[in-house]
Amino acid sequence: MPASANATAGRPMAGSRAVAKEGGGAKAARTICASLAVALGLCVLVSFVPDNPYQRWQLAPRPLFQTVPWIYERIHFDPRPIDVVVVGPSKTFNGVNMAEVERRLAERARTVSVANFSLPAEGRNVNWAILEETFKAKSPKVIVIGVDALSVEYGHPAFKDIASAEAIAVPPAFLLHDYFYDLVHLPARQVALLFARFFPGLAGLRDAFDPAIYARTKSDFSEGRYVLEGKTIDMDAEVPADVLLRRPLSDPAQATTATTRLLMRCCNEGDERVYLKQIVELARAHGARLIFAFMPDYDDTRPVAARAFLSQYGEILDNGDLSRNSALYYNRQHMNHAGAVIVSDRLAALIAEGGPPPGAAR
């Protein structure tokens, strides 16, 4: 028993600091540190257990990210090519109509297959992860990236679910905004995927492609009426301007906290630029053309963020002029089907203008 345990109740003993320094608690501290080291070691070990990427791409929370498994299936199991791939946030998720782009390009005698792999919520890292997966099986010649009036300097919530362990553990820059958040989820994810390899039914993660499920999965959210996250969205509805204006503009303050600014000054350029550069590298490596589609809020006069930066790497499809037309929006941030058709037509025109045109090679 430590000598200290004999201390009696009463006023503080003189020199108690000296007593404390003599090693009380040191053994317990060693035990705790050793156990934490064991836990950390096991976490590192399981983080790199091989997984089945098909199951991994089913981990993103549904219904918000219900198209993520479809994206993987479109890339790896659908024999159709992907000539034009669209990535971006919810603004391009329901602001680009795949069929409309294909139809317009077909009018110009170009048979093009378009895949809209945009996802709700911002975060450039997930766009990069999707494109990297796309290039594993397909060869898109045009990459369309949805951009906004503000740069979003944090990661996408689905990145931790779908990105490979290496992509999460070894990011392209130090101390990105969501690095630790994504990293702490990695061991749990890999254990869940390990379990799913042996018990896919119990884990609720399919390990075999089912064409019937693929065929009935909704993949285009720029038209019709659907329910997402409990909200009914009618893409054909026209919303009065005063109703649209009740919702505030996208808030730049969300994107740049003091910590983010500090990290961007010391360690990295922020998620947006870091992962855009990764996408640029990917595009260059595969000879793909980059188009940045600017999708403004309704009644927003702000221009596209970092125009000069984006112009270095690709063309900008500036839809800023559409922001004054309330008939093109279903809420302040998102276009309706009419808006999506206009954006898609413009996109098709821009794709057709540039060269080499997709589809021409076939």
Binding site: P2, S4, A5, A7, T8, A9, G10, R11, P12, M13, S16, R17, V19, A20, K21, E22, G23, G24, G25, A26, K27, A28, A29, R30, T31, I32, A34, S35, L36, A37, V38, A39, G41, L42, C43, V46, V184, H185, P187, A188, V191, F199, G201, L202, A203, G204
Partner: protein
């Protein structure tokens, strides 16, 4: 900042190291600053309320101890108790009517302050004249969110001790073990059960009566895992700072009747009410014999109910337990009056088993009211379980085989742990011979990381 947030566990070791590194005489003030900072992180406005309530109780406590006449002592004690009760009643009533959030920990620290005033009234020697130690008593951060409700004398004594001694290896290791075990019970069992309960509750009319009955049983198991898990974390953090808190649970599912169950469930609250309300009340009503006893029980249990909040569901929960408890007490008294009860062998085991099942069933039945957000929801669930209300055809299997299996495993573990974990000591002793403690803790911490759903998990009793 929650006891389940990773950020809290990054700060806790640093706070603990500083606590033992600074001179002993400064530890009290350091812990007080830490506790107030913890409270302020949740609510700066209500921190003022906590400080005012503490200062008032300190002054009244000194007044009671220094008063010359019994009448003056009594008046001061009643003044202090009435002021604190008025404060808690006002906030609970406003919370129920206006729906605003209660001050963090008000139900816990106000009971601590009341017990102090009554103790000083009973015995002048119980007065605490050290301002820092006294202010720390209600504010002590491991206990502020959801208890346990510690008695003043035990806290004051331990605080003085820790100011004069070094860290204890055994106590710190036990603290770490309690935190690990508590988090596992809360995050791996309680929260997993909660996930299933939320889904079924959200559309309970679509599920069969049997599934709903099983879900109602899960209410009890989830509440146990959540609250007992929290209590272990709170006790563990307290141990890291040299304070042993009172236990809150002692194998409640091993209880063979409802009276025993209440001696094993939320023990710091029930023992508090027994000492400061039930015993004085039953003594003053003893002339009424059994009617007085029943009245005291009903009043006691009604207060336990409304202590959780001023809504009808909690009152009904308390009154139901009052009926269960009064019936049990009267039946046991009548049984004993007929002669000594010989319980042994197979018949005794069967009787005990039946008693455990009945007790668990009664507890779960009352949980329908405790758990439901509204009276209508409680009645609707009750009708469905009884087979007289509308129900659907879905079963838990329709949520997916993995979900059903996980819920079953979690429920079984909660029942086993809440039943006293028979054989666990034996197994732990064998395990100690096979693997060192640090390895065992490390594996537990690893399981916690990979099996829990990291996020802002909340404690049920944090809302009271």
């Amino acid at each position: 900042m929650s006891f389940t947030s990773p950020g809290f566990y990054l700060l806790l070791p640093a706070a603990c190291i500083v606590f033992y590194w600074i001179p002993g005489r400064l530890r009290g003030i350091y812990l007080l600053v830490l506790s107030y900072a913890f409270y302020a992180a949740a609510s700066r406005t209500y921190l003022v309320l906590l400080i005012v309530a503490t200062a008032t109780s300190f002054a009244i406590g000194l007044g009671i101890a220094n008063a010359r006449s019994e009448t003056a002592k009594s008046r001061l004690m009643w003044l202090g108790v009435a002021a604190i009760v008025a404060m808690i009643v006002a906030f609970k009533a406003a919370g129920a009517m206006a729906g605003f959030l209660l001050p963090l920990g008000i139900s816990y620290y106000s009971f601590k302050l009341i017990s102090y005033l009554i103790e000083v009234y009973w015995d002048d020697e119980a007065v605490e004249r050290d301002l820092v130690v006294f202010f720390l008593f209600p504010a002590f951060f491991p206990q502020i969110v959801s208890g346990p409700i510690q008695r003043p004398e035990a806290f004051f004594r331990q605080m003085r001790e820790i100011m004069g001694r070094a860290a204890s290896d055994a106590q710190i290791e036990a603290g770490f073990r309690f935190i690990l075990g508590g988090l596992m019970l809360k995050l791996l069992i309680g929260d997993r059960l909660a996930d299933v309960i939320v889904i079924i509750d959200g559309a309970h009319g679509d599920f069969t009566s049997a599934t709903m009955a099983a879900t109602v049983a899960c209410y009890t198991l989830q509440l146990y895992a959540d609250f007992a898990g929290y209590t272990n974390v709170a006790l563990g953090i307290g141990k890291l700072f040299g304070v042993e808190g009172p236990p809150n649970f002692n194998a409640p599912f091993a209880a063979v009747n409802i009276q025993e169950m209440w001696r094993r469930w939320h023990m710091s609250l029930t023992s508090w009410l027994t000492d400061y309300l039930f015993t004085p009340l039953s003594m003053s009503l003893r002339d009424m014999r059994r009617a007085g006893l029943v009245l005291a029980i009903m009043l006691n249990m009604a207060i336990i109910g409304v202590w959780h909040g001023f809504i009808l569901n909690y009152l009904v929960f308390g009154l139901l337990h009052g009926v269960f408890l009064a019936t049990t007490v009267l039946v046991l008294a009548a049984t004993r009056a007929r002669g000594p009860v010989v319980a042994g062998g197979l018949a005794g085991a069967a009787a005990a088993g039946a008693g455990r099942v009945l007790t668990f069933g009664l507890m779960s039945f009352s949980q329908i009211f405790f758990h439901s957000g509204t009276w209508d929801q409680a009645i609707s669930i009750l009708a469905q379980v009884a087979g007289v209300g509308p129900s659907g055809s879905l079963t838990i299997l329709d949520l997916g085989p993995g979900v059903a299996l996980a819920a079953l495993v979690c429920a079984a573990i909660a029942l086993y742990v809440g039943g006293g974990a028979p054989g666990a000591r034996w197994a732990a002793a064998r395990l100690d011979g096979l693997a060192p403690r640090w390895l065992q803790y490390g594996v537990c911490a690893f399981l916690l990381v990979v099996l829990s759903d990291a996020g802002g998990a909340k404690f049920i009793y944090g809302g009271f």
